[in-house]
């Protein structure tokens, strides 16, 4: 495949691995905060190629994993309503809530449809005018602009039966909180897709205030190895800064149009993250101007405060304090076919990635 194979070239990857080994002297903990990176690192077996003093740890980069049980519980309640069709990305469907999963509700007859984009959800709304079609909006700056575009489109097309239930979040507050909480990290492998939208500006505080390096990385093995090399170079020279490795996609200023759309539809609010708790201004709430498409405003439901499952270390794992293998439930009670915590559900979750590729 053109434009992919070049970034999966064995000689180049092994060459970079060699260079890293040559120049690296310090013990470094590098965190990736993007589920796509987690999966790619495990899928290509990259930790195996790095020297022992460099440890890759996974942070809260999987949107499904950081989403609260309350969100799932409410989605389940929505799905039980007679006149509601739930549209969702596939990975949410198996996430355990406090008392059910969307998967189980679907088996019982709820109308839950997996879509690959919010545009598909809009089509469902168009074809089913007598039903309320709720799109479960999760994801970071990457998917939030699509949700914004969907809401604007629904508004323009007068699709009054289309709603978004937003659990969209933004990444920088989480990255800062991890350091504030004392998680040992020397550098961030910056999220490629998030940064495509936001640009590099959102990370500038991290080297200045905390002395950590940030390299915004692509998703292929060559990208990731090169990003590790760039971080090692920065940190060996005591010169932490923000750099873009993923230059073929990420522009320093980001995608201005997407940023404008985000700003048009969403405003910041406090939000709950698994493992991190409530983070100030870390959630994207739908603005009043668009509240006719806000499921939480138009179809309010109440659920009991959810309980986190006993023994599940998802929270600690999301902070990079613990690894999946440290969890007593991992691969014994908690498996992808019977997930206890969200990290085991999503393809991009650390536990799922470790279960599949690195046990």
């Amino acid at each position: 495949m053109k434009y992919i194979d070049e970034y999966r070239n064995k000689e180049i990857v092994l060459g970079i691995a060699e260079e890293i080994k040559k120049i690296s002297t310090k013990k470094l903990r590098l965190m990736e905060v993007c589920g796509g990176h987690t999966m790619s690192i495990q899928k290509f077996g990259l930790p195996y190629l790095l020297p022992e003093n460099i440890e890759l740890i996974s942070g809260p980069g999987c949107p499904v994993c950081v989403t609260s049980r309350e969100f799932i519980d409410k989605a389940v309640i929505y799905s039980r309503m007679e006149d509601v069709i739930i549209t969702t990305y596939g990975d949410l469907i198996r996430v355990p809530g406090s008392f059910s999963t969307l998967d189980q509700e679907k088996a019982k007859g709820a109308d839950i449809r997996i879509v690959y984009s919010i545009l598909d959800a809009l089509m469902v709304a168009k074809k089913n005018r007598s039903k309320k079609v709720i799109f479960l909006g999760i994801g970071f700056e990457t998917t939030a602009p699509a949700s914004a575009a969907g809401i604007i489109k629904a508004q323009m097309a007068g699709l009054r039966n289309f709603y978004v239930y937003s659990a969209h979040k933004v990444m920088p507050p989480a990255m800062a909180t991890l350091i504030d909480e004392g998680v040992e990290i020397d550098g961030y492998i910056g999220p490629g897709h998030v940064s495509t939208i936001t640009g590099e500006g959102i990370y500038m505080e991290i080297p200045k205030k905390y002395g950590l390096g940030v390299v915004i990385s692509g998703f292929e093995p060559v990208d990731l190895m090169q990003s590790v090399l760039m971080l090692v170079k920065q940190l060996e020279a005591n010169n932490p800064k923000v750099e873009i490795q993923y230059k073929r996609v990420v522009k320093p200023e980001g995608n201005i149009k997407a940023q404008q759309m985000l700003d048009e539809v969403f405003t910041y609010g406090d939000d709950w993250w698994r493992g991190l708790g409530i983070l100030k201004n870390s959630g994207l709430k739908i603005r009043d101007n668009y509240s006719m498409h806000d499921a939480e405003v138009q179809i309010p439901v109440e659920v009991d405060p959810p309980k986190e499952p006993k023994g599940c270390l998802c929270g600690e794992i999301l902070k990079g304090v613990k690894k999946p293998k440290d969890c007593k439930l991992f691969a014994k009670v908690c498996t992808p076919s019977n997930p206890i915590g969200a990290c085991m559900v999503s393809n991009e979750g650390s536990c799922a990635a470790y279960y599949l590729y690195n046990r």
């Binding site: 092994l14 899928k43 290509f44 077996g45 190629l49 189980q104 093995p221 076919s337 019977n338 046990r359």
Partner: protein, 339 residues
């Protein structure tokens, strides 16, 4: 959250959930020495002769897809289950469950394909059954086929991999993931135009060719639902051997790779309907590959790895960039109604 109380689509995926279901319900109540083997075909004793006996149901959606239809699948699936057990497929049964309102023309097309495919494979359909259900109670048509094959005594150890040894070579007869991605692309909901054809085919004559030239075929399995990943992982676990695969030798067609990238699938776990994993004594690997290359279904045959003493019980992949990772059974649902 404890285990589910209802059947989920994942229970039919051919992966871990399916295995758990089979063990916890079917084997629990039906238990006997034949079933316990859980091989592709049951190997039965009949008056001193060995018979291989198997059954399979087909619910693929859509029923017509590039490279085949549900009928071709129903013949090939059962023929291949017999053939990989080392048997010569002979007699098939077929049962139809048809939805009220289904087009007779489509039914005829399907049946005609089945007849052609059976003829090619040298099997005959000797008995059958037809049921029609109310509109909406099934989706167009479902087919079940059972098959009986004759098995020579010397091949009885193949399906259980009795003689598996460290150093044995692992061979596949061609590219992986074609069937799963062809069916996926044929579903309208994705709006993907991809030139991917299902690999759906009867492999019995190719397999017989291999058995005729080598006495050292240790194991065969057709890698259908769950993909080759599930087959390899199962084999490593059940025989407590290490299995090492090299990604760079794995044949994957360009269209399949592209679609897997796009949808986030791993070709290792995507269904095939014309692929067999063979484990062969290393001394015979070259001649088996040569023999496979002679068949139209084995043109891309390759040695993809070997059995070893390292990491017993698990299956490993050396990735295309030189990293290493584990190959586990498919967990949960990858694609529903793929066959």
């Amino acid at each position: 959250m404890s285990k589910t109380k209802t059947i989920l689509l994942g229970h039919g995926s051919g992966g871990k959930l399916s295995h758990d279901l089979i063990d916890s319900i079917f084997v629990k109540y039906f238990d006997n020495e034949y079933l316990r083997q859980q091989t592709d075909s049951a190997i039965l004793n009949a008056e001193g002769k060995k018979l291989a006996y198997t059954t399979d149901s087909f619910v693929v959606d859509p029923i017509f897809f590039p490279g085949g239809n549900i009928g071709k699948l129903a013949i090939a699936g059962t023929v291949n289950d017999l053939a990989v057990s080392g048997a010569i497929p002979k007699y098939l049964s077929c049962g139809f469950i048809i939805e009220e309102g289904f087009s007779l023309k489509d039914l005829e097309t399907i049946v005609k394909t089945m007849a052609e495919e059976a003829k090619k494979a040298g099997v005959i359909i000797v008995t059958g059954d037809t049921k029609v259900v109310d509109r909406g109670k099934c989706d167009k048509v479902y087919i079940n086929t059972s098959g009986i094959g004759l098995l020579e005594e010397k091949y009885t150890g193949i399906s259980t991999a009795q003689n598996l040894q460290a150093g044995d070579k692992i061979i596949i007869n061609g590219s992986i993931g074609d069937h799963g991605m062809a069916v996926m692309a044929a579903r309208n909901e994705l709006n993907i135009t991809a030139e991917i054809e299902s690999d759906c085919a009867c492999l019995n004559s190719m397999i017989k060719g291999v058995l005729d030239i080598s006495e050292n075929i240790r194991f065969m399995r057709d890698a259908t639902r769950g993909g080759i990943g599930t087959v390899l992982s199962e084999l490593a676990k059940s025989h407590n051997v290490g299995i090492h695969i090299q990604e760079e030798y794995l044949p994957v067609n360009e269209g399949v790779r592209g679609m897997c990238e796009l949808l986030g699938f791993d070709p290792l776990y995507v269904a095939n309907e014309g692929k067999v994993i063979m484990v062969v004594a290393s001394t015979d690997a070259d001649k088996v590959i040569k023999e496979l290359h002679k068949s139209e279904y084995g043109k891309q045959a390759a040695v993809i790895g070997e059995v070893s003493d390292d990491h017993p019980g698990s299956s490993w992949l050396e990735t295309s960039v030189g990293g290493k990772r584990i190959i586990d059974m498919l967990s949960g649902q990858q694609l529903p109604r793929i066959c």
